[in-house]
């Protein structure tokens, strides 16, 4: 019996599967290879030492004692902010809600810092101000 050597051609079904796989890769790229914008937790530092780590999914208020008094931090709906802190300028209060991983704010007079952390690469590696 003589072999019939012919080139296999892609069928419409083959094309469909390849297209679906490419779409899958593109969607994965969109999720997995881009910086993760949303944070999942906030780390609270006092005087350079880690005071507490809080999941951003947990709605709560945290009070952090410092050399000048108490810094009050609110965590809600995937965000965190400083609500009140001793000090005249209130720069850390004015910074408002933080939500991106890598974002941070410092209440320098009371030596309290918030740093947002997330899964995957942070949106910001560091904050300039």
């Amino acid at each position: 019996m003589t072999s019939v050597r012919t080139v296999p051609w892609l069928t419409p079904a083959d094309v469909g599967v390849i297209a679906a796989a490419i779409v899958t890769i593109v969607m994965l790229a969109g999720r997995l290879w881009q910086p993760s914008a949303a944070a999942s937790s906030v780390e609270v530092y006092q005087g350079g030492e880690l005071h507490e780590r809080i999941a951003l999914s947990r709605g709560t208020t945290v009070r952090v004692p410092g050399p000048l008094g108490t810094t009050r931090i609110e965590v809600a709906e995937g965000r965190a902010r400083v609500v009140a802190s001793p000090g005249r300028k209130k720069l850390c209060v004015r910074a408002g809600w933080l939500s991106a991983s890598g974002a941070s704010v410092t209440c320098l007079p009371n030596r309290v810092t918030l740093v947002l952390e997330g899964d995957g690469p942070p949106r910001y590696d560091s904050m300039n101000f």
């Binding site: 080139v7 810092t113 904050m127």
Partner: protein, 369 residues
């Protein structure tokens, strides 16, 4: 004849002939699995771990971000940087009990003095940068700073009397801080203040310390001003610039590595008196806070130059910041003026992305080189 197809006997099918069902389904599945596997392989190329640590030094928060460094080396690096910054503060603080403060006590009394060896290089560098800036960065403004009270932990509540400000003008020239044969011989009482320069010097030394530990991807952030080594695997650094107008992030910067980002702003240290804001960045020409700009952000490879340039461009104001930037070799700068317009140089425009939900008007300046 065997029922199992033998090599070279298995006929390659014509396009119109379907494979037996089992083989056709395995072909689709294998192809799809291969493509998804390739995707997953790509996904496994993750960033090395980021170890971020915080400490206090020089009266502010110091944050180290180290990429691809194990926990033991991270702790060692943090300790070395903390020790270095504490020693740096003791050496370069214009007030207190350190080496520069001790020198200042003699200079402010109008006495000639021998400059400690460990201060000479920094003072010479400060004098050069001051000359480059046309005197807008001036390391000899300590008596004016002291008069205003911005050196105290608690800011002042009112400006000093005009007559007392004018008595300290003109401000000492930049070369009055440059040692000659290891000595300073001021013509008048002098207090050296390296406030517009010392952070850059500290970050420069901290980065050198980390490089000596073979750390090749790091950020040293000292109270919001920062310098970088290298960059994370397969991506640039991403830096958020706080909005000087209030809440949130104004812009993000992408850095390719070995760059410094310094911002001078009127919101850092200030007080209000009779409805007017007085901030700490003094204009050596007038003795009063510089006017016209809210903030200046400079990006350049040299942290020391970045620090001095951010101050100098702020003092130069909307009229003269371009010529000052050119004179100091700065191409990457971003300025928010007092009317709320953001000016960005073309070189920095390639690295910056506006992130503010309520963005300011943005104007790209002419090229600086």
């Amino acid at each position: 004849m065997s029922a199992i197809p033998q090599p070279c006997q298995y006929p390659l099918r014509a396009p119109e002939e379907p494979l037996p069902n089992g083989r056709q389904e395995r072909g689709w599945t294998q192809l799809a699995a291969l493509l998804v596997a390739l995707a997953l392989i790509g996904c496994s190329a993750e960033d090395p771990p980021v170890r971020r640590s915080q400490t206090m030094a020089m009266g502010t928060v110091v944050e180290l971000s180290l990429h691809g460094v194990d926990r033991a080396r991270t702790e060692a690096a943090q300790q070395r940087v903390t020790d270095l910054l504490a020693e740096h503060d003791r050496r370069y603080s214009a007030w207190g009990e350190g080496r520069l403060a001790e020198l200042n006590r003699r200079l402010v009394a109008g006495e000639a003095a021998s400059v400690p060896t460990e201060l000479r290089s920094a003072l010479r560098r400060a004098a050069v940068l001051s000359a480059d800036s046309g005197g807008r960065f001036n390391p000899a403004l300590g008596r004016l700073v002291e008069l205003w009270g911005f050196h105290d932990d608690e800011p002042p509540e009112a400006p000093p009397p005009r007559a007392r400000i004018e008595a300290l003008l003109p401000a000492p020239a930049a070369d009055s801080v440059a040692p000659v044969d290891g000595r300073l011989s001021p013509d008048e009482p002098l207090r050296i203040d390296l406030g517009g320069f010392a952070k850059g010097l500290a970050i420069d030394r901290a980065l050198a310390e980390l490089r000596a530990m073979d750390i090749d991807a790091a950020i040293v952030n000292l109270g919001g001003d920062l310098g970088t080594i290298g960059h994370p695997k397969d991506r640039p650094w991403r830096i958020g610039v706080r909005d000087p107008r209030g809440e949130g992030v104004l812009a993000s910067l992408t850095l390719e590595g070995d760059e410094a980002v310094f911002t001078s702003g009127d919101y850092e240290r200030y007080f209000r008196h009779e409805g007017r804001r007085y901030h700490h960045i003094l204009d050596p020409a007038t003795g009063y806070p510089a006017r016209g700009l809210r903030s200046v952000t400079v990006v350049t490879r040299d942290a020391i130059r970045a620090d001095a340039a951010a101050t100098a461009l702020f003092v130069a104001g909307p009229e003269h910041w371009r010529e000052t930037a050119r004179a100091m070799g700065i191409r990457h700068a971003m300025l928010l003026d007092s009317r709320g317009t953001l000016h960005v140089t073309p070189a920095l425009a390639e690295k910056v992305r506006i992130e503010a939900e309520d963005p300011p008007p943005v104007r790209e300046s002419e090229p600086l080189s």
